[in-house]
């Protein structure tokens, strides 16, 4: 923790970012707005109670895959302005599985390192940050 920002700074930035997300998506049409709302909802549900996805080991990777892969890809399709094709579903599904494999591997590596250090095994506290790819 570098102490660059206060909690208030981060909350202000959070709500500003929500507004920007919504405003930018609104100019792209209803599908984009729906995807943006999904993305924002997952972002909040990941960290905040009562859902707190970051503490749900089996559910978090799947939901993050939606936010990190399906939402961006879907937004690209929405920008394209053409209906979803079967090839899109195939490619997006493959990318989703790739992401899932990557994030599960990352989580298991962190859990292993935590265990080797003698901390609590598979501690949620060590893996609940939003993952960097």
């Amino acid at each position: 923790m570098t102490g660059e920002a206060s909690e208030r700074d981060l909350l202000v930035l959070h709500w500003l970012a929500c507004a920007v997300t919504f405003a930018a998506a609104a100019s792209l049409g209803a599908p984009a707005v729906a995807l943006a709302l999904v993305s924002l909802a997952i972002g909040r549900a990941y960290s905040l109670e009562p859902v707190a996805l970051s503490y749900r080991t089996w559910l978090a990777p799947v939901v993050l895959g939606v936010a990190y892969v399906l939402v961006p890809y879907g937004l690209g399709v929405a920008v394209r302005g053409v209906a979803l094709r079967s090839a899109d579903a195939l490619l997006a599904g493959a990318l989703f599985l790739l992401f899932l494999a990557r994030i599960v591997l990352r989580t298991s590596v962190i859990a292993g390192a935590t265990r080797r250090k003698g901390d609590r095994p598979c501690s949620c506290a060590s893996t609940n940050k939003l993952p960097a790819w």
Partner: protein, 243 residues
């Protein structure tokens, strides 16, 4: 140039040139920074930046020029029309995409070198020893101390006892981790390009990219607030939270 084999050779040539450019930048930068060790910290930092940034710029310009020359020669060798090829590249949105990707790659490489230079200057060690820890203090603090941020500077106190301030746009950039942002934008472009290819880049693509980036910033900010107690123990690199 229509043949995929020719395009493949061109891509390989450009890749090799950039690889060579980065390797040269690394070699020259490392040698130069090692010589800066004996100077005072401030002088080292300024001179390090003066050396590394122009060096990288020059290497990229050289590599870019050589790659363009290589493409032109390759097109001529295959009996194609240089004017037609160059016209296509510079009249389509592909050129914008290529420029963006190259600028991004250059910026990331520069960032890596300047960060290394900063850390080397602050710790007082050669770049190849930075990861093993410096031989002399001061190095960066591992976490915020008092009301100062953790970073490799020689600050003693903030003026008036106030906390250091980070402007919101800067904070937004910090919260938008570039590796994730790059992945999100690539997936966006994949979705936009699937099927008929990405012929034009327009405002809609930019707005979608902004929307994705902002959604990720919203997620990381709320995550840092929610995890503030855990981060005080586990994570030293997150900006939050100063009390």
């Amino acid at each position: 140039m229509t043949e995929s084999v020719g395009a493949g050779w061109t891509a390989a040539l450009v890749f090799c040139l950039y690889l060579l450019g980065l390797w040269l930048a690394y070699r020259f930068g490392r040698a130069r920074l090692a010589r800066l060790e004996s100077e005072p910290p401030d002088v080292r930092r300024v001179r390090g930046r003066r050396v590394v940034l122009p060096l990288l710029g020059g290497v990229y310009a050289l590599a870019g020029g050589a790659s363009i020359l290589g493409v032109v020669l390759l097109v001529q060798a295959e009996g194609g029309s240089v004017n037609e090829y160059v016209g296509f590249v510079f009249s389509s949105s592909v050129s914008l995409l290529v420029a963006l990707v190259l600028a991004g790659a250059g910026a990331l490489a520069t960032l890596a070198f300047t960060d290394t230079a900063d850390r080397a200057a602050a710790i007082g060690d050669a770049p190849h020893h930075v990861l093993l820890g410096g031989r002399r203090l001061p190095g960066p603090l591992s976490r915020a101390l008092g009301r100062l941020r953790a970073r490799p500077d020689d600050d003693l106190a903030a003026q008036g006892g106030r906390a250091e301030v980070t402007r919101l746009p800067v904070l937004a950039l910090r919260m938008l981790r570039y590796r994730v942002a790059t992945m999100l934008w690539v997936l966006l472009l994949l979705g936009a390009a699937a099927g008929d290819g990405l012929v034009h880049l327009g405002w809609s693509h930019a707005l979608a990219a902004v929307s994705l980036a902002a959604a990720y910033v919203a997620a990381t900010t709320v995550n840092d607030v929610a995890d503030r107690d855990i981060d005080r123990i586990n994570h030293t690199g997150t900006p939050a939270v100063r009390s």
